[in-house]
Symmetry: C2
Subunit: 193 residues, 2 copies
DNA sequence: AGTAGGTTAGTGAGCGTTAACCTACTAGGA
DNA sequence: TCCTAGTAGGTTAACGCTCACTAACCTACT
């Protein structure tokens, strides 16, 4: 489906965006990032919109599975959850492409035609958390009086706000410093054992 | 501090942005919205950055108090919380300027120099929720084993994700339909009485 | 011979911003 | 009370920049 050159372009575009923001995601900048002229890009993507669509599809198949992989099967749910938070946060600190994944709708909402793709990406991330909560509910390791989808919504929403806040504060303290308190609160709220 | 004309410009700018997004917030569009030429705007704001700063200050003093006012003193905390959610959601459906307030950092993060102002706005909103939780904790109407700030973070984060999701889904169902389930979950999680 | 994938040059649109000019009102001294 | 100077707040025209995108051309490989 994707040629080598297209993948090269996508990865350059993702790196560019995660480093410098959506404002810097221009045909010009992507082209110069891979060392070609602007019109060369149009040999690989018919227009900018198609490039954005391809970026989102690429994020979905390449990065989302990693997000899923953060939930390890060993240990108690409480420990699993702590590891999940720590891994996610440290990944968000190092690899800004994860921010792109987590905040895709915010980043790309300039293009209204991308809404379905953005919605799918968000729902997928929510589904990963939701199915995890369903699983540990069956093991009796999590309160089950609240639907797993709701727990997922609260978890994801809180994580996102925490990361936004960290950005707004200038990323001075490491993001990881926010993990322990967050973890403790979730364990108590969700009765994680 | 602000002249009548400046206020007129700010309100036009806010309406423009909340209707059509930050992309449409240009000097050209604001000028034509109030029926003058572009250079006329520079008689009232020295440049676009100063206009953005003024918009944020205006949001903070004009809209934020409304947000605070959504928490009514009468009724049990559980009922208060339901009313808060319903009022906020119905306001968000009708008056898009509230979205601007709730998602200010997302909307304006194109201008990095606005970060302190954006941070202050977010912290203020969090503080409103946080002090409310502190209050009802003292009355014994809310679990107090988790810091009020954490409850505020979770509440605000979940609300924002819910609204984002509603946007992404095309705003087909009313936002208010999301309120009852959210309310129920929070009541159970926070032991609201 | 055809195609894939580059190039240079350029187009039209939108952006923030400035220069230069043009009133209308307002305050102060003769 | 009148003339005058200043100012507040408009105007038209234009500048320089960046953007997405296109036309036309040029290889090199199949």
């Amino acid at each position: 489906m994707l040629t080598d050159r297209q993948i090269e372009i996508l990865e350059a575009a993702i790196q560019l965006t995660s480093e410098s923001g959506i404002q810097k995601l221009t045909i010009r900048n992507v082209a110069s990032a891979i060392g070609v002229s602007e019109p060369a890009l149009y040999r690989h993507f018919t227009n900018k919109h198609e490039l954005l669509v391809a970026i989102l599809a690429y994020l979905q198949v390449k990065i989302a599975p990693n997000f899923q992989g953060f939930i390890k099967p060993q240990g108690s749910p409480s420990v699993q959850f702590r590891q999940f938070l720590e891994q996610l946060f440290s990944e968000l600190e190092g690899n800004k492409a994860f921010s792109l994944l987590l905040f895709a709708e915010e980043t790309f909402n300039a293009d209204p035609e991308l809404r379905p793709e953005l919605n799918a990406l968000l729902e997928k991330n929510l589904e990963i958390l939701s199915s995890y909560f369903s699983l540990i509910m069956k093991e009796g390791a999590c309160r089950s009086d609240i639907p797993a989808q709701e727990l997922a919504l609260m978890t994801f929403g809180t994580i996102r706000l925490t990361v936004s806040r960290w950005h707004l504060r200038g990323e001075e303290e490491g993001l990881l410093t926010y993990a322990p308190l967050l973890h403790k609160s979730f364990v108590q709220l969700f009765n994680l054992t």
